[in-house]
């Protein structure tokens, strides 16, 4: 089963910035690109768990603040030549509100 939950208004995420959502102790970073697309991704870099929410966003990727890995926001995968992957969550925007889909066991 899955459920969509409302997390934040689009306007409360800075362009090329992020907000951190704490859902049941898990931290999810929600990013907004320059063209207002939104991505949700587990807030832990595949390298050493760095907080991706604090990185610099460009295009549809974010550069991790700790050691500069670049992570693709759509897939959660590290961009070559680095290797690794972190979880991503489906996102939808309705009436200016951002929803993310969580899988419920």
């Amino acid at each position: 089963m899955s459920n969509w939950i409302e997390v934040v208004s689009l306007k409360d995420i800075p362009k090329l910035g992020s907000r951190v959502i704490d859902v049941n102790q898990m931290k999810i970073a929600v990013f907004r690109t320059s063209d207002d697309r939104v991505f949700a991704i587990k807030n832990a870099c595949p390298h050493k768990g760095g907080p991706l929410s604090e990185g610099i966003v460009h295009g549809t990727s974010v550069t991790c603040p700790l050691h500069n890995w670049k992570i693709d926001l759509a897939s959660g995968e590290a961009i070559s030549p680095d290797h690794g992957c972190t979880n991503v969550f489906p996102v939808k925007i309705e009436n200016g509100q951002v929803f993310i889909e969580l899988l419920v066991a």
Binding site: I21, D22, G50, H58, V104
Partner: protein, 817 residues
């Protein structure tokens, strides 16, 4: 429908062009968006590193080691590959090429990269079995085969290629004689002395030489048995390698009526006289030059790809080249005009017993040429100085001894690096060993420092091992690596350099990041984590009154105004002007630590107190408390003015000559809050005992009885550099004035992330001095601009955030899912 691009010649320049072309395509798709690509190569191999044939011949590498693009690479990039079949005709009317085996392939654009052919001296018998050139894998196999069956080899030609062939054959157990027409080896790269030293060391290795010998005939039945010379003498030979030069391979183009001289003539966009046809590599003649080394060919490849990709933003303007000899155990470097002409000055260092010889040719205070034998460590640096036409006036006295601030990087000459075991740690920051680097270079076909940094992380952090990594790169890929690109682009988003951007912002009054990116044709819509912070800084420095700082273009430390720690918490360092502190202030800091459960406090190396492990959401309220006690941010996290270190000074110290603590406080009041290209540290010592370590600061002051010595460009970090003396002044006011002027000059002119030490070395102490000391108007304008920008910068970022600024940055959203 995609257009058809056909490449003739599956060699180094051609395939490199394809690689550069593919970089221009959309991120996800492999290969090219615009073209269906077909490659036709006469050799039955995928593209390999021709340079490395010499080490293969010497059994130091295998063929597998030197493959640059595996067959999988062609597949992954949707490249149609034809091997072992040569193009025999180009039909420009029908726009197709025809191969020897009869294939006909159509093109919309054609790229000719047929390389060159070894020149075979037209003497009687030259066609006999056992007479070959040294150009491809086939030649190497022939030589290795001969070495199994025969004993005596003659190499004709005492140039780079000939000596590498001779060395390889000798390693394979043959008796080798090198025959040279002139009286000096490698006469095009070496002066007489270096040439003699080279000959001596090669003789010690076991090679024989016949100098000033003119080949007249190759003797033998079916196979060669001897070489006969013009004077009638003969040497026995079972194998003859002709390495007297190369000729651009232009027959094909010529037959098709494409204009050729020595090579296929191209313009600055690498286009031939037929606009549909491009050419790159050794087959090309550009501005009257033909090149025979890969570095220029790779520059050509970049330009050709840029035009094939229809971007058309760069031009090839010719290259300056340098040469190294790849004979293990012999270090030799040569570049530029190493034979002096009238009016030139030469610096020579010769230590025969160590086998070291260095000669530098200087004209009008610029380095024009260099020959290095025995110690080539500084070759890359000298080459850079030549290409940039840097004035060497400031370091002429020491130039012979190499790069002044190379630090750790200075101990990495190629042969010393070669001697290191694979397990030797090269990059201390990322724990990368020599073996990892060599592996990545050979397995992934890396050529540049940037590629090695991306793939291995070596030298991508503090950078002190860059010299070592470059040396490994040089010893692994040979000369092909481009250590000194003409102009360093800021990042992959642009072709423009830091200086281009700084100039454009000023000249064209660009006042937003968007405007800069549009004006300079950035390739990415929002830039990246490298260029955005740089642009943000340049704009802020140029337009302090108008430019709206962009938080999302700052690193997290500057955005959150604390240093991010490995666990995602932050550290807080309140400013303590001049290192002075009062009991109440200490009490306030202690209270804050209790209130927010700060796990650790530490006295920093910058004379203040660091509070570690603060949760991000606690920062604003903690700052509020600190602010109430009178503290402002210490900017310990920023590319900004950091600290002013002071000593006890005249107030207490029995040696103190001036009030160093008081002056330190004044300097800090003047400069705090200023954003800089990199961090900026000051110190004031009360006497030459220099307890505040002013001689390793960006701006240091050493007080003396008669006034103050002002020191600039020091660094105590990765590469220690002692300051240079700017001047001596008499009053505190003058200290403050010069400090403001120096800060502003650095703020306006240095590259983002370039500290004062490398900046001073790049632009030259004398030019900075000249402008600060002799030009009163410029100095006072700098001071004015610094003070203006300080009006906007001296706003405590902590207080602002304690009052609610950017609150979204510090609040998490808690949600039950």
């Amino acid at each position: 429908m995609k257009e058809k691009l056909v490449l003739i010649g599956n060699g180094m320049a051609g395939v490199r062009t394809l690689e550069e072309l593919f970089k221009h395509s959309d991120g996800d798709s492999k290969g090219s968006d615009i073209y269906d690509v077909t490659v036709i190569g006469a050799e039955p191999h995928p593209n390999y590193n021709r340079i490395m044939l010499s080490p293969v011949l010497a059994s130091e590498k295998t063929i597998d080691d030197i493959i640059l693009n595996s067959l999988d690479w062609y597949k992954e990039n949707n490249v149609e590959l034809v091997t072992g079949d040569a193009v025999s005709e180009i039909n420009r009317v029908k726009q197709c090429v025809i191969t020897e085996s009869g294939k006909q392939i159509d093109y919309d654009r054609l790229l000719i990269a047929t390389g060159s052919n070894p020149f075979i001296i037209p003497v009687p018998g030259a066609e006999k079995e056992g007479v070959i050139g040294f150009r491809d894998i086939h030649d190497v196999h022939t030589m290795l085969d001969a070495a199994q069956k025969y004993k005596k080899a003659v190499v004709i030609g005492g140039g780079l290629l000939g000596l590498e062939a001779a060395n390889g054959l000798m390693k394979q157990g043959m008796d080798v004689t090198v025959v040279h027409l002139l009286d000096a080896l490698m006469e095009r790269q070496l002066d007489k002395t270096a040439s003699e030293m080279l000959k001596l060391s090669l003789e010690q290795k076991g090679l024989s030489f016949m100098m000033q010998a003119q080949t007249a005939e190759i003797v033998g039945d079916k196979r060669v048995s001897a070489v006969k010379f013009a004077d009638g003498s003969e040497v026995d030979a079972d194998l003859v390698v002709m390495a007297v030069g190369i000729r651009p391979s232009i027959e094909l183009a010529q037959k098709a009526g494409i204009y050729c001289e020595r090579g296929v003539v191209v313009n600055d966009t690498m286009q031939t006289y037929d606009p549909k046809i491009y050419a790159v590599g050794e087959c090309v003649q550009h501005r009257k030059e033909c090149y025979g080394l890969v570095a220029p060919l790779f520059e050509q490849a970049k330009v050709a790809a840029n035009h094939l990709a229809k971007i058309g933003s760069i031009r090839y303007q010719g290259s300056m080249i340098s040469t190294k000899l790849k004979v293990t155990g012999i270090d030799l470097f040569s570049a530029g005009e190493f034979n002096e002409v009238d009016g030139d000055e030469t610096l020579v260092m010769q230590d025969a017993s160590c086998g070291i010889y260095k000669k530098l040719v200087i004209r009008d205070n610029k380095l024009k040429g260099a020959v290095l034998f025995g110690d080539t460590m500084d070759g890359t640096w000298y080459f850079q100085l030549m290409r940039d036409a840097t004035s060497i006036a400031d370091f002429r006295r020491t130039i012979m001894f190499g790069q002044h601030d190379v630090g750790d990087a200075g101990h990495g000459d190629v042969s010393r690096v070669m001697a290191l075991p694979d397990s030797a740690e090269i990059c201390g920051c990322n724990g990368v060993c020599k073996g990892d680097i060599v592996n990545a270079i050979t397995k992934k076909g890396l050529f540049t420092l940037a590629e090695v940094q991306a793939h291995t992380k070596a030298s991508s952090s503090c950078g002190s091992c860059t010299g070592l990594v470059e040396a490994i790169l040089a010893s692994t890929v040979g000369d092909g690596y481009d250590a000194t690109p003409n102009k360093k682009a800021i990042c992959a988003c642009t072709e423009h350099s830091h200086d281009d951007v700084i100039d454009a912002i000023k000249k064209h009054e660009l006042k937003s990041m968007q405007a800069v990116r549009e004006f300079l044709e950035w390739k990415t819509p929002d830039g990246c984590a490298t260029c955005r912070p740089a642009l943000n800084y340049y704009l802020l420095a140029r337009w302090p009154e108008e430019y709206q700082d962009d938080a999302q273009s700052r690193f997290i430390n500057e955005r959150a105004h604390g240093n991010i720690q490995k666990d995602g918490t932050y550290s807080v360092v309140p400013r303590m002007f001049g290192g002075l502190v009062k009991p109440d202030e200490l009490r306030a800091i202690a209270d804050v630590c209790d209130k927010y459960d700060v796990p650790e406090m530490k006295v920093t190396g910058g004379q203040r107190i660091d509070l570690f492990g603060v949760q991000k959401q606690d920062l604003p309220s903690m700052w509020k408390d600190l602010s109430a006690a009178g503290f402002v941010s210490g900017h310990a996290y920023g590319k900004a003015m950091r600290t002013v270190k002071t000593c006890a000074g005249k107030t207490w110290c029995r040696f103190g000559t001036q009030d160093s603590t008081g002056l330190g406080v004044k300097l800090e009041q003047l400069t705090w809050g200023s954003w800089m290209p990199h961090k900026f540290k000051l110190a004031v010592s009360g006497c030459p005992r220099n307890c505040a370590e002013a001689t390793i600061k960006d701006f240091g002051v050493v007080a003396v009885e008669s006034g103050y010595e002002l020191l600039i460009g020091g660094n105590g970090g990765i590469k220690v550099r002692v300051t240079d003396l700017l001047t001596k002044v008499e009053t505190e006011e003058q200290v403050l004035e010069y400090c403001a002027a120096f800060c502003q000059m650095y703020r306006e002119e240095a590259h983002y992330l370039e500290r004062t030490a490398p900046w001073v070395e790049r632009v030259g102490l004398s030019s900075i001095r000249d402008r600060l000391l002799n030009n009163e108007i410029e100095r006072s304008e700098l001071v004015e601009r610094f003070k203006l920008s300080q009006q906007y910068a001296q706003v405590d970022p902590w207080k602002a955030r304690a009052e609610g600024k950017s609150s979204y940055e510090f609040t998490q959203l808690k949600i039950a899912g």
